[in-house]
């Protein structure tokens, strides 16, 4: 670290490079924090964690016992262990006794992206509540047809404040806070929707993963999904920045000559899915025109049966640059998709098992180099492009459900079925620890009055 500082002093490296190197070295040394602890006030498994996007200071957690709590992760409420361990208790807790609180488990709790004055919770009692943070009162309530699995709001939205809600029902509903009504519904999935995320590059694009294994992209300004990810369509690693020549048809393997592990040849298989349009019928005895001729162009994609996973899609995460999508499925596979081309990049993440009954929340580091994924009772950090496990975070006694990476101070928060929220932070530098210890020693010497 001092070498970096010296280089920056002399002007050899630019400020961005300096800060990214420091944060990379800090991220690689993340382990269970020995100076920070969050005192969980939940009596049920923690299902959802989010740090607010404006200040990065308040952690919102939703749990299975219908409690929602907010923790201040920068200022500790009290110190323990001789001043060495900072304990963070919750600023407030909302539980079942609240007159408008949820009655069943809360599956997702998110902050309003613009400021921390509002937060939105979705619960298995079929309701989505919008709460005012300062008064802890419900300001708006939406009733859904089924258990709410996930809610999401776009962090880059300038023209809408829609809450996208994925429920047991096959339709994704968009709820509008401004008007208090449902804006519209998106249909196309054939089973419930367990995970959904807004795109980080466009405020109108929503990505949903369903219990049928399909991952669909929706533009909310029109009907139907405009893309369905198919796991059989794949490309090798990153697409090249510029196309050398236009892709015409399936090319023969030019990767044979390439000796690099990460192949960058512009190989794209023409989507066979596109040729599968229902109008190419050769049905045996049918003489009836199919319904395709009549259906709305936006509804074409509902005939597309491609799946992204061989099971339920339990988690989705879009990288911050908006170019790649990480998806986790109950087939215990993690897949990395290139959003622009819609292809599977065939990166193999070494996961043995992922929990399949509940949704998981994943996190990606800011420079999109590490993915933090809850795998059963541990959380693992994978290198996104090679798929290798960089680090395994063991500390929970039961399954981990959610994790959130705070890029400001390179900390990772994980919540699990064991009702705990653990903090994983880069190790404190030795000089800091020695200073604190010395401070503690100094005070104890003063108290130890041997003689006057």
């Amino acid at each position: 670290m001092w070498k970096e500082t010296r280089e920056r002093e002399f002007g050899n490296i630019r400020p961005n490079l300096f800060s990214s190197r420091i944060s990379k070295s800090r991220v690689s040394s993340i382990r269970l924090s020995n100076y920070k602890e969050i005192v969980s006030s939940h009596r049920g498994s923690v299902n959802s964690l989010q740090v607010d996007l404006t200040e990065g200071r308040y952690l919102l957690a939703g749990a299975s016992d219908a409690t929602v709590a907010v923790y201040d992760i920068e200022r500790a409420t009290n110190y323990d262990g001789g001043g060495l361990i900072a304990k963070h208790k919750s600023l407030f807790v909302i539980n079942k006794q609240h007159e408008h609180g949820h009655k069943y488990a809360i599956s997702s709790a998110i902050w309003y992206p613009i400021d921390t004055g509002l937060f939105v919770t979705g619960s298995y009692d079929h309701h989505i509540n919008v709460w005012d943070t300062n008064t802890t009162q419900v300001v708006m309530n939406f009733k859904m047809p089924g258990k709410v699995y996930r809610t999401a709001m776009s962090s880059i939205a300038r023209s809408h404040m829609l809450i996208a809600a994925g429920t047991e029902d096959v339709q994704v509903r968009l709820c509008d806070i401004a008007s208090g009504a449902f804006a519209h519904t998106l249909s196309g999935h054939r089973d419930g929707v367990m995970s959904l995320e807004w795109s980080t590059s466009s405020e109108y694009v929503l990505i949903t993963g369903g219990c049928d294994g399909a991952i669909r992209f929706w533009d909310i300004r029109r009907a139907g999904s405009f893309r369905v990810l198919d796991q059989t369509r794949s490309q090798f690693g990153r697409r090249p920045p510029l196309l050398v020549r236009p892709i015409t048809s399936k090319k023969s393997s030019s990767t044979a000559q390439s000796s690099s592990a990460k192949v960058r040849a512009p190989q794209k298989k023409l989507a066979n899915g596109n040729a599968l349009k229902p109008h190419a019928v050769c049905r045996v005895s049918s003489q009836v025109k199919t319904a395709k001729q009549r259906s709305h162009p936006g509804m074409l994609s509902s005939h597309d049966r491609a799946t992204g996973h061989y099971g339920v899609v339990t988690g989705l995460k879009v990288t911050e640059d908006g170019m790649y999508l990480l998806s986790a499925g109950s087939d215990s596979r993690l897949r990395l998709w290139d959003i622009e081309s819609g292809c599977n990049t065939l990166v193999n993440f070494e996961t043995t098992r992922l929990q399949s009954s509940k949704a998981i929340q994943m996190a990606v580091s800011q420079d999109s180099s590490l993915a933090f994924v809850p795998c059963m009772t541990t959380a693992k950090a994978f290198d996104i492009w090679s798929g290798q496990t960089k680090c395994t975070f063991r500390g929970h006694y039961e399954n981990v459900n959610c994790c959130w990476y705070n890029a400001i101070n390179q900390e990772l928060y994980t919540g699990g079925n064991g009702r705990q929220i653990l903090v994983w932070s880069p190790s404190k530098s030795i000089s800091d620890e020695v200073d604190e210890w010395r401070k503690e020693q100094a005070t104890s010497i003063n108290q130890d009055n041997w003689s006057d």
Binding site: D212, G213, T232, S234, F236, G237, K250, S252, S253, T255, A256, S259, S260, A261, V263, Q267, K269, N272, A275, L276, P278, A280, V281, C282, R283, V284, R305, Y310, G311, S330, D331, S332, R333, L346, V347, N348, E350, T352, R353, C375, M376, T377, T378, S386, G387
Partner: protein, 274 residues
């Protein structure tokens, strides 16, 4: 012979000169490979080479005649970089060197078979059907000529299947039932319009596969420390599975249920806890 050698990372530091020279002398080595112990035969640097070696080591089963196939998890056990394995399989699949099939023995099981072997298997099934004096085997010819050559995926939709078959002639419902009865196609459970491609005559082998897995895992779990030396383990015979121990060990190590630890006295196989 395969010229594609990935030089970037040798699989482990235990890469032996035998692996390197086995490239040109693959045929001789193929016969020798049956006698090599599993410990020596464990690391490969190249997917195609690993596939060929494993295909050569496929156990001979008495009652059922199945062409050799390799499970995807077995490849993961031998080659360190899984992403590279996935990508090489994908490029080989696009070159029609091999075909992938999804198996029903578990969550994400895939079998890889060389295209020639698959065609041989289909031939064998056809010949047996001819012996039984089954009528009208033309649909199989169409299947071989049109569908297998052009559709390289794991599954196929009903519409596309009909359109490809009708390049040969008029398609009737019975033809599709014939294909399913022969074991070349399987209906998908989640979607009645989609079919998985499948290897005919493989049912008993798959049953042996899942039972053998369970037996091996339970055997190791019952031991006091849930581990055993690989040298002693591979001499055991599994009661419930016609496939040999090496096959199952590779499969379970690749899928992460077992892990190997290097010790001064050799490799130890241990049940992996999460």
């Amino acid at each position: 012979m395969n010229k594609k050698i990935s030089e970037l990372e040798p699989s482990t530091s235990r890469k032996r000169p035998r692996d390197r020279e086995s490239e040109p002398e693959l045929e001789d080595d193929v016969e020798n490979s049956r006698s090599l112990s599993l410990e020596e035969n464990f690391t490969f640097s190249d997917t195609l080479m690993a596939l060929r070696m494993m295909r050569a080591q496929f156990p001979r089963i008495e009652k059922v005649s199945v062409e050799p196939f390799v499970l995807q998890s077995q490849l993961y056990s031998s080659i360190k970089d899984r992403t590279q394995v996935d990508r090489e399989i994908e490029s080989l699949r696009r070159d029609k060197v091999l075909r992938m099939f999804k198996l029903n023995t578990g969550q994400d099981d895939h079998a890889i078979m060389f295209t020639d072997d698959y065609l041989n298997q289909v031939e064998r099934v056809l010949r047996r059907m001819e012996e039984k004096k089954q009528t009208d085997l033309t649909v199989f010819e169409w299947f071989k000529m049109y569908v297998i050559q052009s559709k390289l995926d794991i599954s196929i939709g009903h519409q596309e299947l009909c359109s490809l078959l009708s390049l040969g002639g008029k398609v009737k419902e019975e033809n599709i039932s014939q294909l399913i009865n022969a074991g070349l196609l399987i209906r998908q459970l989640i979607d009645e319009n989609m079919y998985w491609f499948s290897i005919p005559n493989i049912g008993s082998v798959l049953k042996g596969l899942s039972q053998g897995r369970k037996e091996l895992l339970s055997f190791l779990s019952r031991r006091k420390y849930k581990e055993m030396m690989m040298a002693t383990l591979e001499k055991k015979r599994l009661r419930l599975s016609p496939l040999d121990m090496r096959f199952h060990l590779r499969d379970l190590i690749g899928s992460g249920h077992l892990k190997t630890v290097q010790t001064p006295s050799g490799l130890i196989v241990r049940v992996a806890k999460d």
